[in-house]
């Protein structure tokens, strides 16, 4: 089973949710329609950290497997996030671990 357009749209929607952990930053998703894609720009503290395109006009089962690569995550885990089996907190934590979201310097560093 691949990562489909339906999963991609669910991902874009879920990235907007507020994390439970107050220490984690909230992500802002700004869609931009350009050409054959809707580019979803993900901002964290005013900095664009990741961007992915969803083809508009494609059927709902069309493969969008490249989005997992943009997030540096396995397609299976990306589906888990889209299907709400992975929390937004876990996703933000992962994005910090792989360096997509810059980790704020700790006090004393």
């Amino acid at each position: 089973m691949s990562f489909t357009k339906e999963h991609a749209e669910a991902t874009a929607k879920k990235l907007k949710t507020k994390p439970d952990n107050r220490n984690l930053p909230k992500l802002e998703v700004i869609p931009l329609k350009d050409g054959a894609h809707i580019q979803h720009q993900i901002f964290c503290n005013g900095v664009e950290v990741v961007r992915f395109g969803i083809k508009h006009g494609s059927h709902r089962n069309a493969t969008h497997g490249w989005i997992a690569r943009r997030f540096g995550i396995a397609p299976h885990d990306m589906r888990e996030f889209a299907n709400c089996n992975m929390s937004i907190d876990a996703m933000i934590g992962h994005l910090m671990n792989v360096g997509i979201i810059p980790t704020p310097p700790r006090d004393g560093e």
Binding site: D34, C44, V49, K55, T63
Partner: protein, 179 residues
């Protein structure tokens, strides 16, 4: 000359003979080259073929070809090609972009691995054109952002895109009319 194609659906004995006799409406006719089937266990003359048998053979062969085509398609792994244009007037490709195309979930994904940009489609051509579109879109967004507005991954992506793409001169210099 006989050749066996084991496909899992039907075992077909496929042979090519010259001057084989075909039975049609009780009359014997002679034809040139015929592709037909025979049953090794039937004990009948393998060179006598009726029309219904030929039709069954045709449908079996069509089925076999379809299965073999699916098997070949499923064995195609990723391959690489180069993109030399985005199909737009306003953006030029300064260096050929290496593009990897691979099957994924019934469709294809075309990727520019260096920049980690990819897109997909139902066919290879669709995936390739989709990548052209998203590269142009990413380039347009990236050139509007300053380096401070981009995270580490997108900053790297912007630098790579700038190596491979550039804006076309909007207005070509007009020639001065000769006096």
């Amino acid at each position: 000359m006989a050749k066996s194609l084991g496909t899992g659906v039907n075992r077909i004995e496929h042979f090519l003979v010259r001057d084989v006799k075909v039975v049609k409406d009780g009359a014997k006719k002679t034809s040139g080259h015929i592709v037909g089937t025979s049953s090794a266990t039937s004990g009948t003359n393998p060179f006598l073929i009726d029309e219904s048998s030929l039709q069954r053979t045709n449908s079996s062969l069509a089925e076999t070809v379809k299965i073999l085509a699916q098997q070949v398609a499923s064995r195609i792994s990723a391959y690489c090609t180069f993109m030399v244009t985005l199909g737009r007037d306003d953006i030029e490709v300064t260096n050929p972009i290496p593009v990897t195309i691979e099957p994924d979930g019934g469709g294809y994904i075309a990727s520019f691995m260096d920049a980690n940009i990819a897109s997909g489609g139902d066919t290879v051509q669709d995936a390739f054109e989709s990548l052209q579109d998203i590269l142009a879109s990413s380039f347009c967004i990236a050139e509007q952002r300053s380096e401070g507005e981009l995270g580490p991954r997108l900053l790297r992506e912007k630098r790579i895109l700038m190596e491979f793409l550039c804006r076309s001169p909007k207005n070509t210099p007009k020639r001065q009319p000769k006096s």
